[in-house]
Structure formats: structure tokens, C-alpha cells
Chain length 202, copies 2
């Protein structure tokens, strides 16, 4: 818990962030939040108008955090290709899923423009950031010039998000890693033994 670390609103937001990650919006009750935060009903309804507002604060912070984590790698040193590989290989709590992406499977989040907005904006930002890096890499000859930056960026983000699904289904992080290795093998074909087809399929 956070019972003796920070202010009550802060503890409420952190407890909500954890529960939204573990159980989603529909699966998270105010009672569970209060217990985890070590607060009473009165505190929560004093600082927030209710569950929706508290969840919004939590989602915004989680989205911001994910963005910062990604930027730390994507804006770091290395060639475009290396930065994308670092992003894909970065350490993740795979079996917990993506705290932002998982919200898209929650009916109440998707139904609320306010709650969905931070999710949408974060994934959109990530795609654009990756698209720019792919295009940068194309100018350096790291990626085929026939590729479309935005498409590849969407594929990268989708593979990561779907990797969480495979991992959670199987109960093992291995499936996530397998999907990522496959994507990397497509993005960075190995030379000199590489023999990708030079003609379209028959």
C-alpha cells in the first residue's frame, strides 16, 4: 500500500492505476481502491467527484508514463534501427499486459470519450514517433525504401500489443518474445545468407 508515503489523493491515484492495470475499469470498485490506498470513503469523494474522475486522473498519468518510457529509448542514442530494436527488446512486465493498451478492451473506457482520449493519444503519438524513426532509417538505407513508415509503425505497435495477448493466453512471456523476434527478423533481414524472394508470389 501507500499508507504512509504521500498525500491521500496521490495514494488514491496510484491504487487506481494498479487496479486499472490488473482488472480494468469495470473490474475495479471504489471499495477495492480505498482498501489498497488505505483511505476511507469520505477521502475519495472529497478529492474526486467519483470513480470516473479518479480513473481519468489515473489513466492520464499511466499514459504519460508510458510515453516517457518509450521516449527514453526512442530518443536515445543509436541508429534508427537500433532504437527500434531497443524499444522492442526493452524489459517489460509482459504477463501484466500493457497498462494503456488493455484499457481498449474495457467497454466503459471505450464508451467514454474522456477516458479513451489519453489512450488514443498515447498510442497515436507512439505510432507517429516510430514512423519518423523508420523514415529516418530509410534515408540511411537501414530499411527498404518501398516500406511505408506509418504502416511499419502500426505493425510494430500492434505486434507489441498483440504480444501481450499471446503471452497472457499462454501464461508465459515466451510467446511475446517469439513474436518480437519474428518482427525483428522481418525488419532487419540478415545478410549475406538472406534470400528473400525477388519476385512476387506466383
Amino acid at each position: 500500500m501507500y499508507s504512509d508515503c504521500v498525500s491521500t489523493p496521490e495514494r488514491l491515484i496510484e491504487a487506481t492505476r494498479e487496479l486499472l492495470w490488473e482488472r480494468g475499469y469495470v473490474g475495479t470498485s471504489p471499495k477495492a481502491i480505498l482498501q489498497r490506498a488505505g483511505a476511507g470513503q469520505g477521502s475519495m469523494y472529497h478529492h474526486f467527484t467519483g470513480k470516473p474522475e479518479l480513473a481519468l486522473a489515473a489513466v492520464r498519468r499511466t499514459a504519460q508514463e508510458m510515453r516517457a518510457t518509450a521516449e527514453a529509448v526512442l530518443g536515445g542514442p543509436g541508429s534508427p534501427c537500433e532504437r527500434i530494436e531497443s524499444y522492442l527488446r526493452r524489459e517489460r512486465d509482459v504477463l501484466r499486459g500493457c497498462p494503456v493498451g488493455r484499457l481498449t478492451m474495457d467497454p466503459e473506457v471505450v464508451a467514454s470519450d474522456a477516458l479513451r482520449a489519453p489512450v488514443d493519444e498515447t498510442l497515436d503519438w507512439l505510432r507517429e514517433r516510430l514512423a519518423g524513426i523508420v523514415e529516418e532509417g530509410q534515408e540511411l538505407g537501414e530499411f527498404g525504401s518501398a516500406l511505408d513508415g506509418e504502416e511499419i509503425a502500426a505493425t510494430i505497435v500492434a505486434t507489441v500489443q498483440g504480444g501481450y495477448v499471446l503471452a497472457r493466453a499462454s501464461g508465459s512471456a515466451a510467446a511475446f518474445d517469439t513474436g518480437i523476434r519474428g518482427l525483428l527478423s522481418l525488419l532487419t533481414p540478415r545478410a549475406p545468407g538472406h534470400d528473400s524472394p525477388t519476385r512476387p508470389r506466383t
Copy 2:
């Protein structure tokens, strides 16, 4: 609803399938199921021991249906590459998400071996099926021999599953299609203008 089509157990299962797809397990109450099925409490608890058993019947059927739908394309006519492309481009209710994959974000499903099993088995079957087709395509020279069938299969399934996430986040099916196009461009590089790098990155 199904009030006058089939047997009561059947209506209960179909109503549960819809609700699990829309709202997940934690977001689906027996009351909602009964209303959608047009049945009373007594009927449900006469035919099923409770929500978990009913959900299990629903999940099993949904998993089986997804498998049959995939097999219809993957076992159909065409070259390996064409069949994979058909699978990726097949019509989908993108904004509704994947009725099987979305269950992996549900804490109660993941916590229950019985409920998770059909999900795991279906996604696992799909990966193995795709891996075999990729390897078949490699023998025909459609895919680079340096690729790993299981890895590419995991990437394909992950991209589809993650595509749903992107689509639901943005509220538009376009993001799904963009990710799929990116994957296809990586899987089937265009000739003769294809100029993927012949050496690893610097």
C-alpha cells in the same frame, strides 16, 4: 434476442457469448445474460451451475468458431503466401475486437485454468497452423529461408490482435488495416524495385 428461436440453454449460451465479447467476464452479470436471453433466474441455474460454467460453455463455442473461421481461409485454395494474405485481409468486425483475444485482458479468465484453456489452445493452434504454412511457403521460395516459421506465425497473430487494440483506441478500423498492410509489406517485399538492405545495420 433469441426468445423464440431455440432452446433455453442455447439462448443462454448465445447471450453469454455476445456479452463476453462486448464486456468481458467481469463486466457480464447473470442478470444481463438473462435479460438478453429472455429467460428467468430459475432457467439459468437449472441448466448451469452458475456464471462460471455458463461462461465456459460460451467461451468454448466462441473458440471453436474462431478456429473454424480461420481454417476456412488457411485450408482453402491458393499458395501459402496467398492464404496468409487472405487470412490477414479477411473481413472482420474490427471495432468489436477479437472475441477470443479480448478474454486475455480479463483478470478472472486468466485466473481460471478452465476458462483460459480454450483461449490458449485456440491461439496456440492458430500459431502452429500459420507456422506450417509459412514453412510450406519457404519451400516454394515465397518467404526468405532465414525466417523462422514459428516466429513469423507469432508475429502474424500478434499483429492481428494488436491491430484490434489500435482500432479500438482510435475508434476506427483504419489503424487495424494500416498495421496489416505494414506486415504484408514486410512479408511480401515488392519486386523488382525492392531494395532491402543487403548488410546488417552499421
